[in-house]
């Protein structure tokens, strides 16, 4: 024993204490953010699945130029500053003619007229308002938008939700780094489920194994996630104060890489179709978003945005001079010329959401997300086991764990059911999707309070999760009439992927239920024993 041994031991103890408390204090919220984050990885796919649709590449196949000309003639002059254009999940092109001004919350926002145009070029809807409001009322992405918003700000008003998720990111960073530093046998721990273990020891081994596998992933996600939250909540305004004397607009112009004052002298703009086609040919892909600025003036420009493709990790933006239709540059994500800052910014989103290699990277990210959920669950359960034997209040902690761990997926499935049912009944899907979540949360909370036996509560939640997972593909089919055969013919990979994922989850729920019902099951540990049995055992 050398002199350093007691110090090392006390540091290891301190790290264990830090690891435990960071997990316990924020564990349940952290689980909510990790679980919904895992779902958010496939938010685009959920958008396609919930509408039983796939993108028709209308941006390149329809006559965008003539539609813009037609719509511009019927739009207020003030809103012609900028036009954004993308395809939604219902085979419609969304044209938003807008200017920029402060919204009622005091934030700079887009304001103007939004048109929904179908594949035949007919206007199916027209609405005036702020961009943020119009986006929040868009029924086509009501489900994916709601699930993503839980992940990003837990539906807490801005900026507090973002600050809370930022703090949760830092807590995850602490738990992951302290977990890494505590490991004395990192590589052996990767395969360290020891034989003849059950109950709490098995859970501890499982926690260690899943945690070890997901440490690099957890550190990466915690870091990028806290960056997103803090940068949006207060980082950018703070930077504007220091670097631009508080002028947020000037900072946004610098970041976007645009001149602040542009010539508004009239000049006819070039054909949009040609520029969009050229961009699509250069990238061998279809742009997911187009913006046209200062159309009909000397400063007219068009930007086409592309998702990462062909081995590239970051997003790409092509800029055109819209006065003559010539290609100008591949623009960095921030600023006017390539820089370390723009490279980092273009990498952070694909790394956080796993969008860099299509569905493959998303599946890997989902798997690691599930592992991180499992680590959070087992971590909290371990703490509950440790304490519940001695003190009655800790039984409530076990109950809280079951309520949260099995309740949140059930609430998420319920909001998807609410989305489909309200769609069928021609109700407001943007309102009924979150309302279904709240109703499910209230029912699950009541059940968690009323069902005294924890095993029964767990079984009920497993059954409900399994049944809802089975119901959703059926509901989707009934609402759209699109089966797998048609989906396969039309190459609707995303729709089939989500259907299959739900069926796999249903299978897992019923398998877990089956193992719970087995006498002396190993996975359940002492938590599955009814309280009365535990009392008798004492």
């Amino acid at each position: 024993m050398n002199q350093n041994t007691p110090t090392m031991r006390s540091k290891a103890k301190a790290l264990l204490s830090l690891h435990t408390w960071s997990g316990i204090i924020l564990g349940m919220l952290l689980y909510a953010v990790i679980f919904t984050g895992t779902v958010a990885v496939v938010s685009d796919e959920i958008g396609e699945w919930s509408n039983s649709n796939r993108h028709q590449n209308l941006v390149v196949t329809s006559n965008v130029n003539s539609t813009v000309n037609r719509l511009a003639a019927m739009t207020e002059q003030d809103y012609l500053d900028e036009i954004s254009l993308y395809e939604n999940h219902r085979q419609q092109l969304v044209y938003f003619f807008h200017t920029h001004k402060q919204n009622p919350s005091g934030e700079m926002d887009e304001y103007g007229t939004q048109y929904l145009v179908n594949s035949q070029g007919e206007v199916v809807s027209q609405q005036d308002g702020f961009g943020s409001e119009l986006y929040a009322q868009d029924d086509s992405n009501a489900l994916s938008r709601f699930l993503v918003a839980i992940h990003t700000e837990l539906h807490i008003p801005s900026p507090w939700g973002l600050i809370l998720t930022g703090i949760l990111g830092l807590a995850m960073l602490i738990a992951a780094v302290s977990g890494f530093m505590m490991h004395r046998h990192l590589f052996t721990d990767i395969f360290a489920i020891r034989k003849q273990r059950d109950g709490k020891p098995l859970k501890r081994d499982s926690h260690t194994v899943a945690g070890t596998w997901s440490i690099p992933f957890a550190i990466l996600l915690a870091f990028t996630g806290s960056f997103f939250s803090f940068a949006t909540a207060f980082g950018l305004p703070a930077m504007a104060v220091v670097a631009f004397g508080g002028d947020q607009e000037a900072m946004m112009y610098t970041l976007v890489g645009e001149q602040q004052n542009k010539s508004e002298a009239p000049l006819e703009s070039a054909n949009l179709n040609k520029m969009v086609t050229d961009a699509a040919e250069r990238q061998s892909s279809v742009p997911y978003f187009i913006t046209v600025s200062h159309r009909g003036t000397e400063s007219a420009s068009m930007s086409a945005f592309f998702m990462p493709h062909e081995g590239k990790v970051g997003f790409e933006q092509l800029v055109y001079d819209a006065t003559d239709g010539s290609f100008v540059e591949y623009k960095p994500q921030v600023g006017t010329v390539p820089s370390a800052g723009s490279v980092i910014m273009s990498l952070i989103y694909p790394i956080h959401f796993g969008t860099f290699a299509g569905l493959i990277s998303k599946i890997i990210w989902i798997s690691l997300g599930v592992a991180a959920c499992y680590v959070t669950i087992t971590g909290l359960q371990l703490y509950a086991f440790r304490n519940e034997k001695g003190e009655t209040p800790w039984r409530w902690f076990s109950r809280l764990c079951i309520w949260g761990f099995y309740g949140l997926p059930l609430c998420s499935l319920s909001c998807a059911i609410g989305f489909f049912v309200s769609g069928e009944m021609e109700l407001n899907q943007s309102a009924w999707t979150p309302l279904s979540f709240v109703i499910a949360a209230a029912v699950i909370s009541a059940m968690s309070l009323l069902i005294k036996n924890l095993t029964v509560l767990k079984q009920v939640l497993f059954v409900a999760n399994g049944v809802f997972c089975l119901t959703l593909p059926a509901l989707r089919f009934l609402s759209s009439g699109k089966g797998w055969l048609e989906a396969a013919k039309q190459d609707m990979i995303a729709m089939m992927f989500i259907d299959i994922a739900l069926l796999v989850c249903a299978g897992w729920c019923f398998y877990a239920l089956y193992t719970l019902l087995q006498p002396g099951n190993k996975l359940a540990g002492n938590q599955t024993q009814p309280i009365e049995q535990q009392e008798m055992a004492k």
Partner: protein
């Protein structure tokens, strides 16, 4: 519960690794916007502090939490606080 909360607030390490570390990390982030080279794109001094903030906080947190000598840790935080405050003062007043 009340006793443990009271003990937590009396614990010097709580103030060192908690509020003090957070305050200094925020200050370092803000000051970075003033001294970090903006680069050719004129954006590095905005982006890098935002990206570095979680890393700076984590590094300071683990250092202050695990430091055997708390006075040394307080000293480091104080030095960072003074240096970055001076940078910010020059930015706003100078």
């Amino acid at each position: 519960m009340t006793t443990s909360t009271g003990l937590l607030f009396k614990n010097g390490r709580f103030w060192l690794s908690g509020p003090a570390t957070l305050l200094v990390s925020l200050l370092v982030m803000l000051a970075m916007a003033a001294w970090f080279p903006p680069g050719a794109g004129n954006v590095n001094n905005i982006v890098m502090p935002l990206v570095m903030f979680p890393l700076i906080w984590a590094a300071l947190f683990f250092y202050t939490y695990l430091a055997n000598d708390m006075r040394k840790a307080w000293g480091l935080l104080l030095a960072l606080f003074i240096v970055n405050s001076v940078v910010l003062a020059f930015q706003f007043l100078g």
